[in-house]
Amino acid sequence: MYILAIETTGPLCSVALLKDNKILAIRESKEQKNHLRDLMPITGELLRDAAVDKKELNYIAVSKGPGSFTGIRIGVTTARALGQVLNIPVVPVGTLDGFCAKPQSTSGASGGRVTCGIINARRGQVYGIVKGFKPGGPYMLTDILEILRDEVLPKGLKAEFFGDGIDAYKETILKDLRDLGYELDKDFFFADEDYRYQDAGSVGLLAFEKIGKGEVLPAAEVFPDYMRKAEAQQKLEAGELPICKKPLI
């Protein structure tokens, strides 16, 4: 069983080819934020190098979000079209669950490190997850830190941060946890940049688990999980959109 996994929600995009739960190959874009341009070419190279024809693929796995809205759409749109044309099911996977499925995350857990995935959602907010303590969702960064402070670190467990939320909020995290007497690289860790971000390999691994549980969908039924409504829609629903206050004839 071949799975083609797509990850486009982070700064770089990547694709992975899996045979069952074995990652055969991974390709990553070289430049940040050019997913539309790079995704199909790296997919073509990946399959060519692995000598697997696209018609041999059994599933398309895709990271459905949260993350960059544009990035999510490029990945999900591509997965939907590939699934539709190749006539195979699509397996959508949560980006935050992807952090928890990373090999570094699972090996970290055996050493008592709790995975804490955070994606920058701006204005002090993150899309975050604390494995085993807080399910994935949009939170204030302070909510995540509170869980670490009150429930994780006092138990003698260690925390390891993943995701681009580190780049945005490193100073805040450092200050907050140091003030409580916790030390970087002893009590809490920032994942190395080599494996800090979303990657297609973990998307494929998660998808393999989901396939076993029958959690697959027809291509056209796969939708992004933005975790946030469009700003204009929030305003419209709150009656704050100026144009809508005028009566329309």
């Binding site: 070419p41 759409r73 749109t77 591509t78 044309v85 056209a220 204009a232 419209l236 809508c244």
Partner: protein, 344 residues
């Protein structure tokens, strides 16, 4: 190929219409499916790019399925994929481009990117099977106001553009101030029929004598000022008169400039393109003026004037026939000068 005909499937998603079409030999429409989001954006008073992008994603696969079904073909019959790759709303464009590229890859079909305006102009080739370039093109839409020299099926020189608002934007803003809602074009056109176009004189901005450029922001401001002044003085506004007078001023300028450009180019042919080409007053005025000047006027039917994918398929066909193919590294461009479209 089917029945000896070369089939192009095309995608268009540059604004708020999700469209997929199948075109045979470039000019014969086998299907032209358009899923419009206009009802959603009536609530917002205009297109919201983030929301448009979300809807394109949710709709495009079904629209493609319908386009193939209505054309009674399968992907195996398709010889070429065309897709609008600019200009337009970037988040919206990329849904069409990402889909088109994935289909091209998965089904091994060559792909070409099409300039949205080349698509609009090409709608005329569909409507008029005997029409050949060169001719003068007048493009009027929500986002564009251009006079162009259509030299060949793939080469187009813009000789006049708006320096500020596009016609469609001016219509939307005036409609908003009159409380008519969105979209402004059809609402003003309808209301204007009940008004007197000479009731209020709004100044026509013709710019320099030898220029084919347009400026509509002054006219838009003049209308807003008029409405405000009347409101402040407590005088009732005759909305139909304002709509008719505004529309007359816009159309006088467009008609005069485009016809004099057509006379200078000397092709004896002018083709209209873009969403505003459906405006009845513009059609009537240009028909008269072209007749007086011995210019043959071409106007596609409304379904080909609005954003659709059949026109993109037509433009893609001619681009491909001239040896152009794009790679899977194709991008989408919010801004794309028409002069650059050939090299991409």
């Amino acid at each position: 190929m089917k029945d000896g005909k070369f089939l192009t499937m095309a995608f268009e998603s540059s604004c708020d219409e999700t469209a997929v079409a199948v075109v045979a030999d470039g000019r014969e429409v086998l299907s032209n499916v358009i899923s419009s989001q206009i009802d959603i954006f009536k609530n917002y008073g205009g297109v919201v790019p983030e929301i448009a992008a979300r809807h394109h994603l949710e709709n495009i696969n079904e629209v493609m399925e319908r386009a193939l079904q209505e054309a009674e073909v399968t992907l195996d019959d398709i010889d070429l994929i065309g897709v609008t790759h600019g200009p337009g709303l970037i988040g919206a464009l990329l849904i069409g481009v990402a889909t088109a590229k994935a289909v091209s890859f998965a089904a091994d079909i060559p792909i070409v990117g099409v300039h949205h305006i080349m698509g609009h102009i090409s709608a005329n080739f569909i409507q008029y099977p005997a029409l050949k370039p060169p001719f003068t093109a007048l493009i009027v839409s929500g986002g564009h106001t251009n006079i162009a020299d259509m030299e060949s099926y793939t080469r187009c020189n813009v000789i006049g553009s708006t320096r500020d608002d596009a016609v469609g934007e001016a219509y939307d803003k005036v409609a908003r101030v009159l409380g008519l809602g969105y979209p402004g074009g059809s609402k003003i056109d309808r209301l204007a029929k009940e008004g007197d176009p000479d009731a209020i004189h709004f100044k026509r901005v013709l710019l320099e004598k030898d220029s084919y450029d347009f400026s509509f922001s002054g006219l838009k401001t003049a209308v807003l000022n008029y409405v405000n002044t009347q409101n402040q003085a407590g005088r009732e506004i005759n909305k139909a008169d304002v709509a008719a007078s505004f529309q007359q001023a816009v159309i006088d300028v467009i008609a005069e400039k485009s016809v004099s450009a057509a006379k200078e180019m000397g092709y004896g042919k002018m083709a209209l393109a873009g969403g505003v080409a459906s405006n009845s007053k513009l059609r009537d005025t240009l028909t008269d003026l072209c007749k007086k000047n011995g210019i043959e006027l071409y106007i596609p039917e409304p379904v080909l004037c609005t954003d659709n994918a059949a026109m993109i398929g037509c433009a893609a066909y001619y681009k491909y026939k001239e040896g152009n193919v794009c790679g899977l590294d194709m991008e989408a461009y919010a801004n794309l000068p028409i002069q650059e479209q050939q090299i991409l």
